[in-house]
Subunit: 242 residues, 2 copies
């Protein structure tokens, strides 16, 4: 009965129900109003995400999602010839893959609220420290992701949203407005701290509110307990349940 | 495609996706393996919960939940003649209502893993402080819930689980094993702190693991990114997606 909000993305989505995570916070914001479903796939880029589309969002679904966040690019922006090149997707293909994802979602349900989220900024020093903590001496010197390359992907994401008339969150820019974003909002130069998660949550809620998906304006799925008469509970439930 | 775990209960379930909440933690435990769905209704007792049964768990569902937690009693145990008496349900009726809930879930799906959770213990001093902070001088002197009355409800819950051969979590007893549980595990004498939420999460995971719903033994719903060949991604997806 409740509408579904599907979070489609990479590890930044997959990890979003960890303590302080933006997915869990979103589920809490929409308590008794919508279900928030995690479809995050750590390490995935948009090329690999395409394989999942028909399975996660079947065209013949009788109850398609009411809204979806599409949050890819952090892996697509891995740099060719460096340690994470397996995940690299060329810039133009990234944009086209995102377009295919959006078209598929809109084919599932033309009224689906689709929100594109850019990858967050990259803190190269944080990435280097993380690589050294994992690989020690063997850690490769050249960064596998840079903030400047990720910027290009973020720009394509925003440009596509404009072309298609979709709402978007420019997380790459937004996070860099915070002084000390490198350590404050990112835990390893790429993934989100609790404060970084709070930024994503706040931005997604803002965009949902600007669209038609404001939790404050959505009905509770059943009566608030204060509306139930202890001696005559049937009355409160008669419209919805009897 | 993923199995669903439905959390059915009162505010202790409804609030379970707040920061540090046991529902969000459970969703994280089952990341990429099962969806955790919140069906918590703050203030509800088992009598009112019965009105929702057919709506939340339709008998003709083609994809019934794989598992459900049933976590009621904190409101049923409100004391007659005191401020929360509207929520009071007699002890015998509480047990019979729980039985009806279980029978309905098993009618939906005989293999559904149903786990009964007792209400947590009540810290009367904490409840009193909370009432004074909200109502000031007007706060009623006599507690609207007591730990001893809640114990009776917890016992009925455990007894029913034994009668029906169901798994259960005796939260009332478990939480009181912790020194200083009154302040450590409860925020207002009734609701859970982060540490209290951690106890519920740990106990539910333990019981799920003892049954057949161990996250460690469940398959990922799509290949882990490390199994995907960057040059030939089709291969990793051919079984599930092509």
């Amino acid at each position: 009965m409740r509408p579904r909000i599907v979070l489609f993305g990479d590890s930044l989505t997959e990890q979003s129900f960890r303590s302080g995570g933006w997915g869990a916070a979103l589920a809490d914001t929409y308590t008794r109003k919508a279900d928030v479903v995690n479809r995050g796939y750590g390490g995935y880029n948009t090329r690999w995400a395409l394989f999942l589309l028909h399975h996660l969002f079947p065209l013949d679904s009788t109850k398609p999602a009411a809204a979806a966040t599409v949050f890819f690019g952090a892996n697509d922006a891995a740099i060719l010839g460096r340690t994470s090149e397996r995940q690299y997707v060329p810039l133009e293909e990234y944009k086209e893959n995102l377009r295919k994802i959006v078209f598929h979602l809109k084919e599932c349900c033309p009224t689906m609220l689709v929100v594109l989220i850019t990858p967050p900024p990259v803190d190269e020093a944080g990435r280097k420290e993380y690589a050294q903590s994992v690989y020690g001496e063997k850690a490769v010197k050249l960064p596998e992701r840079t903030n400047e390359v990720t910027r290009l992907y973020a720009e394509q994401c925003i440009e596509l949203a404009k072309e298609l008339g979709l709402r978007s969150v420019d997380l790459w820019s937004k996070m860099q407005e915070t002084e000390g974003w490198q350590r404050k909002l990112l835990s390893d130069g790429l993934h989100l701290t609790s404060e970084g998660n709070a930024v994503v949550h706040q931005e997604v809620v803002r965009v949902f509110n600007e669209a038609w998906l404001s939790a404050a304006e959505m009905p509770y799925d059943f009566p608030h307990h204060s509306e139930i008469d202890g001696k005559n509970p049937e009355k409160a439930f008669q419209h919805q349940c009897l």
